[in-house]
Amino acid sequence: MVAAAPKRLLLLIRHSPYGSSLARASLDVALAAAAFDQPVTLLFAGDGVLQLLPEQDTHARGVKNIGRLLASLPLYGIEQVYVDAQAVAHYQFALDTAPLKAVPLDSGQISEMFRNHDQLLGF
């Protein structure tokens, strides 16, 4: 059902993991894109970098664990994952314990990321 020439999708994820349902929705879009063999890149920015916090425990809240979902993304072929280095510095946590490997980018590299994709989905 998807056209022959795949568009490179960039998902800009700016929502904290449990503050709204959009965090989960954006990852569902990533999974759908992967399921249809569309190349998809994730870029976590702003409050969205909080999705990469280690040891997320959602048991008491009764909602799905975003960290665990992120950890499973490489299994679905989603491996282009980047994060705004400035936002990570703002929240002061280490990326090496994040549930998903994400490459930190500076603002120049982020601009380049925008240019290198066909469609930008801003969450």
């Binding site: 059902m1 998807v2 056209a3 568009k7 349902s21 929705a25 894109a33 249809f36 569309q38 469609q119």
Partner: protein, 130 residues
């Protein structure tokens, strides 16, 4: 040029959903085409046949119905989001044993593959809300 729209804001809160409908109308007026409008998360409540807005405010549903009926614009509500927000078409209402359908018939309920395809088939994908 072919456009697709992604709408993620509720018509009950803020301007984004209304702006999306106005943008769609402007796209068509300029001679472009719209592949699809996909509603995700809170955006799915744009398809509500039940919402009642104050009489002295603009009708939030009519612009979409007009786009669908007069310009054959495809309006799709993400099924995972729609169910959570109580947006059920006749088929889903029956399947889930709910007392009534809440989605206006100008809209369809479908999966995220429709968004992926809309992004793939369009020259431009424009996001509203989020």
């Amino acid at each position: 040029m072919i456009y697709s729209l992604l709408v993620m804001s509720s018509p009950a809160s803020g301007q984004c959903a209304t702006t999306a409908a106005q943008f769609a109308r402007a796209v068509l007026a300029r001679g472009h085409s719209i592949k699809r409008v996909f509603f995700l998360d809170k955006g799915t409540s744009s398809g509500s046949a039940m919402a009642v807005f104050p009489q002295d405010e603009a009708d939030r549903l009519a612009p979409w119905v007009e786009l669908a009926e007069q310009h054959q614009v495809e309006l799709i509500l993400c099924i995972a989001s729609a169910l959570k927000y109580g947006m059920l078409d006749a088929t889903e209402a029956q399947r889930r044993e709910k007392p009534a359908a809440t989605v206006h018939p100008a809209f369809s309920v479908s999966g995220l593959g429709q968004l992926v395809e809309a992004a793939s088939a369009a020259d431009r994908l424009i996001t509203f809300g989020g």
